[in-house]
Amino acid sequence: MSGSALPLPQRLPLLPLATGLLALLLWELLVRWARIPNVLLPSPGSVAGSLWLAAPQLAWHGLATGGAAVGAFVVAVAAGLVLATMMMLWPLVNRLLYPNLLLFQLLPKVALGPLFVVWLGIGLPSLLAFAVFVSVFPVAIGMLTGLRAADANQVRMCQAAGGSNWQVFRHIRLPTAMPYGFAGAKVAATMAFTGATVGEFISANAGLGYMVMQAQAKSDTPLIFAALAVLCLLGAGLYAAVGVAEDAARRRWGTRR
């Protein structure tokens, strides 16, 4: 994982925007020309209609999903940072946890969703716990990788200057790990929304995931698309917020080349 190679957001997203609009146009034309039924594939126009008509509902359920995902994201980042720090500073903790973390990372974590319902019941607690569970790993593993990537010579230099373990951590390892941590947080931002939505599929009475299930039951495909559009927007928003935080951190603490 190379944190420094991540592309910065482009300043003028005109070209990708044009591609997107063109795709929407082709989609609209295709649906009209081939007379595809709305239940199968709604045209962008009818999705926009749904967005407009269901706006209050979408806003309400979007708030529920967004709140759950952002909450889970914050908890996952905090827990991931604490886990990585503990594994770095205490070899015993590392030996106890690291192989298990890797094992969990390999697991299709989403498949464990129903277990959370078994343990925590239907509702917000199981939803949040599940969303935290799926998004904590990229932060913990990314951060630990970054902390370990610290240059051995720089560590020696710090020790020679009289640096304690904590100072080596604070002044060498942490700055080195910053890009890795942000890369992990970006993955976690996406995973938190995935976790929240899947959680809502299986155990909720609010949220966009719940709304999608309801719309599906009523064969209201345009509404499914409308909910997904809101979900995309929310996910992109959180991702962008992490990007802004990363830029600010880089400006404040300098870039690592």
């Binding site: 240059d151 010579n153 710090c158 020790q159 020679a160 009289g162 640096g163 002044h171 300098g254 690592r256």
Partner: protein, 262 residues
């Protein structure tokens, strides 16, 4: 605690120091019963082939490695870990890429919890002395290899240590920059009169800079030969072009060849 170091006439003293690394399957004997001392204000060069254990010797003096045998004294007191009055330079400049040149130079003050204002003047003076004025706010990646090592010299000296330890500090530089850095160091050291241990495999550097040269044997490292450099100070880089200098370098080359054959 009384400052006993002021009483001792020796900055560093190695007494039958040995070091074995517990590597597997066979422990690695890096240093074998080394005894020597560095007087206050003396510049000692340690000359030896790559991988002979001379770096280990220096890392022990820096307090980063503990001897497995013998005794190591710093200013008359047993050394236990990195010493506040010791500056260290490594093969690599080891500047922190996320800090400016100035912040890199000030780094030891941060670690020792010394207020920035107290050492800022000293840092700026050093930066000017080594010719980095105007680059204080540059990042290390904007500097050449030689400039980075100059910043590393400033960092090693910023807390005004009485002992400077250098582990082949110019070995990663090209030949021209390398000679140039030797001259910078010579100039700098002659104005400060600190004690210094300089590990190198360049005979020219060793002789030009040092009052005394220790030639190390192959691993495990022992002192194979000790040679006092007779040239008076202050020396200038032009000294390296004299016949006497060339003769001493040739003599040392012979000594090294014999110690290798032994």
């Amino acid at each position: 605690m009384p400052d006993t170091s002021a009483l001792a006439s020796e900055a560093v003293r190695f007494q039958a120091v040995g070091k074995t690394f517990p590597t597997r399957p066979h422990p690695l004997r890096a240093v074998e019963s080394v005894s020597f001392s560095v007087r206050r204000g003396e510049f000692v060069s340690i000359l030896g082939p790559s991988g002979c254990g001379k770096s280990t010797l220096l890392m022990m003096a820096a307090g980063l490695e503990t001897p497995t045998e013998g005794r190591l004294e710093r200013g008359g007191v047993a050394l236990e870990g990195p010493h506040r009055q010791t500056g260290v330079m490594f093969q690599d400049a080891t500047l922190l890429p996320w800090l400016s040149v100035l912040d890199n130079v000030l780094f030891p003050a941060v670690i020792r919890h010394i207020p920035r204002a107290k050492v800022l003047d000293q840092a700026m003076r050093l930066i000017e002395t080594v010719g980095l004025k105007g680059f204080e706010h540059s990042r290390p990646h904007e500097l050449s290899g030689g400039m980075r090592q100059r910043a590393a010299i400033c960092r090693a000296l910023v807390l005004d240590p009485d002992l400077l330890l250098m582990d082949e500090p110019f070995s990663a530089l090209d030949a021209i920059t390398r000679d140039e850095m030797g001259d910078v160091l010579l100039d700098l050291w002659q104005h400060t009169h600190k004690s210094a241990i300089f590990v190198t495999h360049s005979i020219r550097e060793a002789v030009l800079l040092a009052d005394r040269v220790l030639v190390m044997s192959r691993r495990p490292a022992t002192v194979a030969e000790e040679l006092v450099v007779p040239f008076p100070r202050p020396r200038s880089p032009a000294l390296a072009d004299t016949a006497e200098f060339a003769a001493l370098v040739a003599h040392l080359r012979g000594v090294i060849a014999r110690s290798m054959a032994a």
